[in-house]
């Protein structure tokens, strides 16, 4: 069973993008239309001047048909150029919705062999664009390019922290970040850990290292938000390790030994209903970190310090 986890094939990036991108991102929004009462001569004029291969036919903003270059050639050779569009057009139009994933369009091109699909708004049913194979290829290439540059810049930012500490000449260099956590503001709890995590990502730490550190920081932030009147998370980054100090001004922990026991909690019911306060916070912090120290004076406040080596 275990081996199975590691050898799963990776999804190709374009395939993944085809699921993520919506048709509206690929479609051409400036869509030219004609009315069923216009003639095939009008079709010829537009297809020739605009160098396009098909045109949707619209009546009172609703799509009623489509005329393609194949229809035009048929009319040219049969001398039907003065015929009204409504007698020539394909009335049963296969259309796509603008909020469908791009992969639906790709599948429909495969299935029907058409050169283009009109795109409708899902709610109003109105025609909002047209999509060709060329539009899809361009959209995918654009998305791939964006992805490529994002990867490139990520690579450039890797190991910035490491090189920073190597290049700065001193006996001891540290980078300190301070985050304030409001007490009793449970709605926002978690936000600061998230900001802190973004910084560590930028500084090029590995996912696993960040994971261990942020689990500890998130638990500490929850504790500040649940139990205290507020406090600070002070992260000190230096070569080889990160130290985090979590300082508040009360109410303090009565029995530290008891508080460290897994499952022991003094959290009020409303906190438990939110999924926290199960008495695993401090044990979790201890579990994730290399060193942990907890000091508390009732009425004065608590000072928690932990560090992880890298």
């Amino acid at each position: 069973m275990k081996g199975r986890v590691k050898h799963l094939p990776r999804i190709q990036k374009t395939q993944q993008l085809a699921y993520e991108l919506k048709i509206k991102e690929a479609m051409n929004k400036k869509v030219l239309t004609l009315s069923p009462e216009d003639t095939m001569l009008d079709v010829k004029k537009i297809l020739k001047n605009r160098r396009i291969s098909g045109i949707p036919i619209v009546q009172s903003k609703k799509l009623v048909g489509i005329v393609s270059i194949e229809d035009l050639i048929r009319c040219l050779s049969a001398g039907l150029m003065n015929e009204k569009i409504k007698n020539i057009m394909t009335a049963k139009v296969v259309a796509l919705f603008s909020d469908e994933p791009l992969v639906h369009a790709i599948n429909k091109f495969d299935r029907y062999g058409f050169g283009r699909f009109p795109v409708l708004d899902h709610d109003t049913g109105k025609l909002v664009g047209i999509v060709t194979k060329k539009d899809i290829i361009q959209c995918l290439l654009r998305a791939l390019e964006i992805h490529y540059y994002a990867q490139e810049s990520k690579r450039k930012h890797r190991y910035r922290a490491d090189s920073l500490f190597k290049e700065i000449l001193s006996d001891w260099t540290t980078l300190t970040m301070i985050y304030h956590v409001k007490g009793g503001d449970f709605k926002k709890a978690g936000e600061q850990s998230d900001r802190l995590k973004e910084n560590l990502l930028k500084l090029g730490y590995s996912d696993e290292y960040i994971r261990r550190l942020i689990i500890a920081v998130l638990e500490a932030e929850m504790n500040l938000a649940i139990f205290t009147s507020g406090g600070n998370i002070i992260m000190q980054i230096e070569r080889g390790k990160i130290t985090v100090r979590v300082v508040d001004h009360g109410p303090g922990i009565l029995d530290i030994e008891l508080a460290m026991q897994p499952g022991y909690s003094t959290a009020p019911d409303f906190v438990r209903e939110l999924g926290f306060g199960a008495g695993m916070g401090l044990p979790n912090i201890k579990n994730c970190t290399d060193e942990m120290r907890l000091e508390s004076i009732v009425g004065k406040g608590t000072n928690l310090e932990f560090c992880i080596y890298n």
Partner: protein
């Protein structure tokens, strides 16, 4: 297991935009977020009855890539917005926790204890 398979097995409904081909390697169910932080593995799915914003922060920290809300729970707007930002897929099923986990486990989704430990400790 692909996310689209999970959606089918749980008769679930998508809440956020998502990659249906997302590969979920491990599953876990809990309403206690500290337990999630303790036990969760990267590239896993969390099944939970909690819908607040901290579920997403917890998931993001623990490397969880998809969350399924059980018992028909629908999350508030802030939760959905943060999940979209963090690229965590949200789905909801009307099935209760035990049955949701049972169905996925029966179809071969692994549990957190069955995969090699990722975190050092």
């Amino acid at each position: 297991m692909k996310l689209k398979q999970i959606v089918k097995i749980l008769e679930a409904e998508a809440i956020t935009s998502m990659k249906v081909d997302l590969d979920i390697k491990i599953g876990g169910g809990s309403d206690l977020m500290s337990d999630v932080l303790f036990y969760a593995k990267p590239e896993s799915m969390l099944l939970t009855g909690l819908t607040n914003i901290q579920v997403v922060y917890t998931a993001s920290t623990a490397g969880i890539i998809a969350i399924c809300f059980v018992r028909g729970k629908k999350p508030p707007k802030e939760t959905i917005e943060l999940a979209e930002k963090k690229k965590i897929a949200l789905i909801t099923t009307s099935l209760p926790m035990f049955e949701s986990c049972g169905r996925l486990y029966k179809k071969g989704l692994l549990g957190t204890s069955e995969v090699e430990g990722v975190s050092k400790k």
